[in-house]
């Protein structure tokens, strides 16, 4: 292939792209073009968005706090959909884990002279799993999260452009 910009096959971008495309084909295969009603499209949008988040989280694996949190959220959501009882069970154990880790971090979460608690809390709500992070980790995770989001946006943009022609 005469490709001057060979994609590194192990890079985040290529991992995300392959996973996302596979997920798209699966979504496509599940529901053929039955109707273009707004509800249909909306449901499909939901599925695609979940697939995008899932692909991104799986590409990062468990190396990051935010990816772990996102994976847990997605899994618990799917468990809840399958079986309401099991969702409650997994929710409990995971809540225990989250509480425990937040207890470990509460000592480091005090303000001590760093005067932007409100913004930090807002950022914590944005970044998945941010509630259990102290400021240091939060900034690290935010940087990595921003990088992954930009990759995601790039790839999805190209895919969308690809279809719109």
């Amino acid at each position: 292939m005469n490709n001057p910009h060979h994609l590194n096959p192990t890079s985040l971008k290529s991992r995300f792209t392959t996973r996302f495309l596979r997920a798209l084909t699966k979504i496509r295969a599940q529901k053929p073009i039955s109707s273009s009603s707004p509800t249909e499209i909306f449901r499909r949008y939901r599925r695609i968005k979940a697939a995008a988040d899932k692909s991104m989280a799986y590409s990062v694996r468990s190396r990051r706090i935010w990816s772990r949190a996102m994976l847990w959220k997605l899994r618990s959501r799917s468990y809840r959909r399958q079986d309401p009882c099991s969702g409650r069970r997994s929710g409990k154990t995971n809540q225990a884990i989250m509480k425990k880790s937040s207890n470990e971090n509460t000592t480091t979460r005090r303000e001590d002279g760093v005067g932007f608690v409100e913004e930090a809390d807002e950022l914590r709500q944005l970044v998945p799993g941010g509630e259990t992070m102290n400021l240091c980790n939060l900034l690290d995770e935010t940087a990595h999260y921003i990088k992954c989001l930009t990759t995601q946006v790039q790839v999805m943009k190209k895919i969308a452009d690809f279809y719109s022609f």
Binding site: H5, I27, P38, A160, S164
Partner: protein, 357 residues
């Protein structure tokens, strides 16, 4: 023998340094203590080099990770420019080999002066501040651990101009303690020292985040920067939602045959989109037009993102009542609608969006 930070950093220079990396590499080696990392392609374009641009992570257990954010922090650049004669015309490989030479020199000098204990100073260690013998007049040299930056300042031989780092030096005398030099006029008890170290860590990370987020340079102050960062993350998340909506709408219109395309090669096609437009397997697609039904669907998505409490049915109902036409001025759905309903602080990001194309 511990694998030193320097060895690891050598290992992370990928051998596939292609020509596009040279500008980044030049800026990394050729400039002074302040490395110019404001090139958008540094964190958008070449994918192998995302790993170079970001600041060090904690320094702790993540250090051994091969694909994590960063092992070559910007602030280490001064450490490797022993002589400032490095010209900017070096090729990447030449630069890498020169860097290895310098690292060898550093290692030799470190060994000669401080013995093998100094090597252990480079490895990750929990931060402990020794507070008892600190006084402002004593010239205690120590290394602040926790950052994986290597400030290799051999006391005698290597002279460096980075005046920023003069307050901390790194000749370790006791490998188990972190010696922090107290600056003039500041308290020296352990709490405030630890706090100061933590605050400086945080400000360093904020600076690196500043490089990541476009348009952050104009805002000063941590709170303003955090607001910018929050806005940026929100805009990115909304972009993802919008794009997934777009793909959903397009998916319903278009025959999507991925089986024809080899999945492994598709990412490469995606990367070079103009070339990929001429794929033989691609069906002949006409220009995509949004019919009113799909416009409604897009609107309900927009309403949802703007007013989260709205449920899907409510959104659709409200959309059927009034379709804001200005949001969908063009017949083909592009990113223009996204920019029209953006709020003002995100005007910067529209400019940034255009840079994507």
């Amino acid at each position: 023998m511990d694998v030193t930070v320097l060895d690891r950093q050598q290992a992370t220079y990928p051998l596939e340094l292609c020509a596009s990396s040279v500008p980044l590499f030049q800026s990394y080696l050729g400039s002074g203590p302040i490395v110019d990392l404001k090139r958008p392609e540094a964190y958008l374009g070449g994918d192998g080099f995302h790993e170079f641009v970001y600041f060090p992570v904690g320094g702790g257990p993540e250090f051994g990770d091969s694909e994590k954010l960063n092992l070559v922090p910007p602030d280490a650049a001064p450490g490797y420019c022993i002589s400032r004669t490095s010209s900017c015309q070096m090729t990447a490989f030449h630069a890498a080999s020169m860097k290895e030479e310098r690292e060898d020199m550093i290692l030799e000098k470190m060994e000669s002066t401080t013995g093998s204990d100094s090597r252990e100073s480079f490895t990750k260690r929990k931060a402990e501040v020794v507070a008892d013998h600190k006084s402002k007049d004593k010239r205690i040299k120590g290394e602040v651990e926790g950052e994986s930056e290597v400030k290799t300042k051999c006391s005698t031989q290597v002279s460096r101009n980075s005046s920023k780092e003069n307050s901390k030096a790194c000749e370790v005398q006791k490998p188990d303690y972190i010696h922090v030099r107290a600056r003039r006029g500041q308290a020296t008890d352990s709490h405030s020292l630890a706090e100061r170290a933590r605050r400086e860590k945080i400000s360093k990370k904020m600076k690196c985040l500043q490089d990541l987020v476009p348009g952050c340079n104009k805002v000063t102050g941590k709170a303003g920067m955090l607001d910018e960062i929050i806005n940026y993350v929100q805009s990115l998340q909304r972009q993802v939602e919008f794009l997934s909506m777009k793909i959903a709408a397009l998916n319903s219109r278009v025959e999507f045959n991925v089986e024809n395309l080899p999945i492994k090669e598709f990412p490469a096609y995606v990367a070079n989109f103009p070339a990929a437009a001429k794929l033989p397997a691609m069906p002949n697609l006409t220009c995509f037009q949004l019919n009113p039904m799909q416009k409604e669907a897009v609107n309900c998505m927009l309403n949802e993102t703007m007013h989260p409490p709205l449920t899907a049915t409510e959104g659709i109902a409200s959309a059927s009542v009034s379709i804001p036409e200005q949001a969908l001025s063009s017949s083909t759905i592009t990113l223009q609608p996204f920019s029209t309903w953006n709020m003002d602080p995100q005007g910067l990001y529209n400019v940034y969006d255009m840079g994507f194309h």
